[in-house]
Symmetry: C2
Subunit: 513 residues, 2 copies
């Protein structure tokens, strides 16, 4: 309509070109695409991380916004400034030498999908505000439940009436932290509906669980940090850093004796530090033995991606006891950030804890309960069309391609683990977990810490230091952590990593006092 108006002589002339003019869109997208291809081509030759001091980037950016715009002719300048002022100060999460944290998995199909989604810029807060956005997401959640071999109770298409009828289903959240919060709120709401006082509910997780569990409890009003006399019980782990069901049982019993209401257990499949898997059957049995059934949320944010391979599902034994599960394709399944998949067995328990419907959001289909309104599945109201990237990614790669991606990375991690075990200077304190390998330099805390710092100082590869008990109940000790999961990481990148590790180990040991 903009272009037409340009030719209409009865209307005031709009700015030329309009902000969403198709020609402007084509020109700017083409320029950024050319920039992006250049960035990706040069990526392996960049340092993986910057040599940045606080304030370096701030100093490069003007203090005040420009009064006049550059318009389309200014995009050469804008992209040159991006390359000069911003890119050198980034950590390159798509760099083949990125072995830190857990990866953020970009892929060409997912990036293209993000472009399509931004072009539509539709808001699927309600079914009625974009029916196809909601239904595509429902179908993608079902597809992924199939891909990962989840129990059918998590699928929309398995229930009679789906979400509205008390069945299960899934939703895309931005991050696993938000999924954990949603699980906590749903679990508390279920307990309150069953008669519990809101401030008497308790939450259980392991010492090795992600920090987001305590954070969710803080946000939900169950705890302050450092952990006070709140309602979060951090359960000790065994020698393999898995939640100890016996200690869980003891904590639940103590709370029951105190008149509290165990409402939620957050179990982790693939802990952040070492990739440990909490024993779901033991956790379920511990609660059942005490006659309680707290909501069981399974955080498989990272490791869950491996469940696309049938040979990597044993760690999820007992998942049929879960009330909710989350898996993040943005970590390891070729789908750009943000994309956390969150399934619930009883969708009404979740929506009952989140739903508020004011007049301006009421419509016929919602009122009749015939449709899924995703605004009631998470904290945000508005939402992007993130399901599009799952659709494009799954259709581009197929289940086979996704499996090949995971298997390739696990094979690389096997190579790293074998190398570390063979190397005289290294020890492997915990067995490799999928793509995650932990190591120490001999049995030396200081040398381990120093080695990680030295490897990272080279800026050719990036790994992460962490700190965990090496014996059950022991004090945390330094451990180096190598996570294979970046889209571009290949055998060559791994050989470079091993060379860096070997050289750093020699230097660290030789410089020992």
């Amino acid at each position: 309509m903009q272009e037409k108006t340009n030719q209409a002589d009865t209307n005031p002339a709009p700015p030329t070109p309009g902000p969403l003019d198709p020609g402007l869109y084509e020109a700017l997208v083409a320029q950024v695409a050319a920039w992006g291809a250049g960035y990706l081509r040069g990526l392996p030759d960049r340092p993986v991380r910057p040599d940045a001091k606080p304030g370096d980037t701030l100093a490069r950016l003007p203090a005040r916004p420009p009064e006049s715009g550059l318009g389309e002719p200014g995009w050469g300048t804008i992209l040159a400034d991006l390359d000069r002022d911003i890119v050198p100060g980034l950590v390159h999460w798509q760099h083949p030498g990125f072995f830190a944290y857990f990866s953020c998995n970009a892929s060409a199909p997912a990036i293209a999908a993000e472009l399509a989604s931004a072009t539509l810029n539709t808001n699927g807060m309600l079914w009625a505000t974009s029916p196809a956005a909601t239904e595509l997401e429902m179908r993608m959640m079902d597809w992924c439940a199939h891909l990962f071999g989840l129990p059918e109770s998590f699928r929309f298409d398995a229930g009679a009436g789906g979400a509205a009828g008390g069945g299960g289903g899934g939703v895309i959240q931005a991050t696993a932290s938000e999924a954990t919060l949603a699980a906590l709120v749903a679990a508390r709401s279920r307990a309150v509906r069953a008669g519990a006082a809101r401030d008497r509910v308790t939450v259980y997780t392991s010492e090795q669980a992600h920090s987001s569990v305590v954070k969710a409890a803080m946000v939900a009003g169950l705890a302050d940090h450092p952990l006070d006399d709140g309602r979060v019980r951090v359960i000790g782990t065994d020698a393999a850093l898995r939640m100890d069901p016996a200690r869980l049982a003891a904590a639940v019993r103590a709370d029951l004796d105190a008149g509290l209401v165990p409402a939620l257990v957050v179990a982790t499949l693939g802990s952040t530090s070492t990739g440990a898997f909490d024993p779901l059957p033991g956790i379920h049995a511990a609660c059942e033995g005490l006659g309680v059934r707290p909501w069981l949320h399974v955080d498989a944010a990272w490791a869950g991606a491996a469940m696309v391979c049938p040979e990597h599902r044993a760690f999820a034994q007992g998942i049929e006891h879960a009330d909710s599960v989350c898996i993040n394709p943005h970590k390891w399944l070729l789908t750009n950030f943000d994309c956390d998949l969150f399934w619930v067995r009883d969708a009404r328990a979740l929506t009952g804890s989140m739903s508020i419907t004011p007049a301006y959001l009421r419509d016929e289909q919602s009122a009749a309960g015939r449709v899924v309104d995703y605004r009631d599945w998470h904290v945000p109201l508005g939402r992007r069309l993130r399901a599009l990237k799952l659709w494009f990614v799954i259709r581009h790669f197929g289940a086979e391609g996704l499996r090949a991606h995971i298997r390739g990375h696990i094979a690389l991690a096997e190579r790293i683990e074998a190398w570390l075990r063979d190397h005289p200077r290294f020890s492997v304190p915990f067995p490799r977990s999928l793509g995650l390998v932990c190591f120490r330099v001999g049995d030396d805390d200081r040398q381990t810490t120093e080695l990680v710092a030295r490897v990272n100082a080279g800026r050719r590869v990036l790994i992460t230091p962490t700190s965990v008990p090496l014996v059950a109940g022991g004090p945390p000790q330094p451990v180096g952590r190598i996570s294979v999961g970046t889209t571009t990481t290949d055998a060559r990148a791994v050989e470079l990593l091993l060379a860096e590790l070997g050289a750093a180990a020699d230097a660290v040991v030789q410089s020992a006092p």
Copy 2:
């Protein structure tokens, strides 16, 4: 590194092309860009909303994911399926005839920025995980504080030591709902640190506030819905639907008498139904008169964008009393969803309520408090590089271009209001607020409801029904609501809207019993 490995004969051959191969990237982005330009060109000729029944889209999508991928040769099919199976089922939020809800403002520069951001796919959870991502965001928050004329206490560059030193600053949240939750959690935390019991804090907002306030209270554990005996006080409004400071004072006094701790007032600048502005000076005075200073959060998610124009800042009088403010450029400032700007006066109050630092996220700069770690400013841990779209948008349009965008839409809304006031069948129950115009058909509830339904049934324009008291304290009655704010909406679209309104009014009145 992928391409090089393709030529290396010592390594196993990776899949060809790799998932992030630059050539594949160029090919897929070009195809989607061509699709996107075609979508935008055809947009004005599409119905603004689908004629969809629940399940229509689900029925078009296979129940199971494909085993084999289509790869690059399949993208013709993928994009054809997008056009056939998904696009017809969307509401077109960028359609010039979209006058519903509040808009989601796409623009070519913002879309191009989303492509760049997806290409980098970096994760700025900590300063150290991408220093330039964090510092670009800090600078953009300061730029926007300048653009909107916010008090300098909300800027990083105004404080001695910024966030770490107890100064102010801002962060991009996904949505205003999340900003409200963050404000609530920070406010409660501040009250608890000052000695309040966690379950004794109270929250105040108006009857016309966004549903996200009660939702945030539910998530934070202060209330259940329908509102129970929790800690949220919904304050009545005056004839203009603004929070009544006298009633606020009465509610605060009652809570103080009951030994409760008023911790948060959420004031709205530009309410969702009618664009009402709560009186910040009166709200501040009401609390001050009782000797309390609850956290004042100002939700200017929609209307705040108009503050880029100095002539549209009077409604924000008293904002110097605010502890936090949110404004959403994704609603009305040419910046794609999601982009909610959230400023706090005392960053430590916010980060103190959210911060948890496990070993694998510890680093030297964070530990020294020298940098901003945005993970502590909201619920999510991981985060996209959303600051890039602000940078591109502000540089492309300049402050002048953003002002022209707002002024153009307000002029269109003035035209609509004048037409409605002149038209014998319509009445305007509340004065236009910026780009938002409310109307009724005469003074008839049924005809008003019927008219909105009839206009929307034509699918050429989309407006929203709402329901508000027409006299102070009266029962809610139906009101039609026209929001001018979509990027592509121009004079031609407005004339079409008016024609649709006129025809529908004739039909509704003539068919009256």
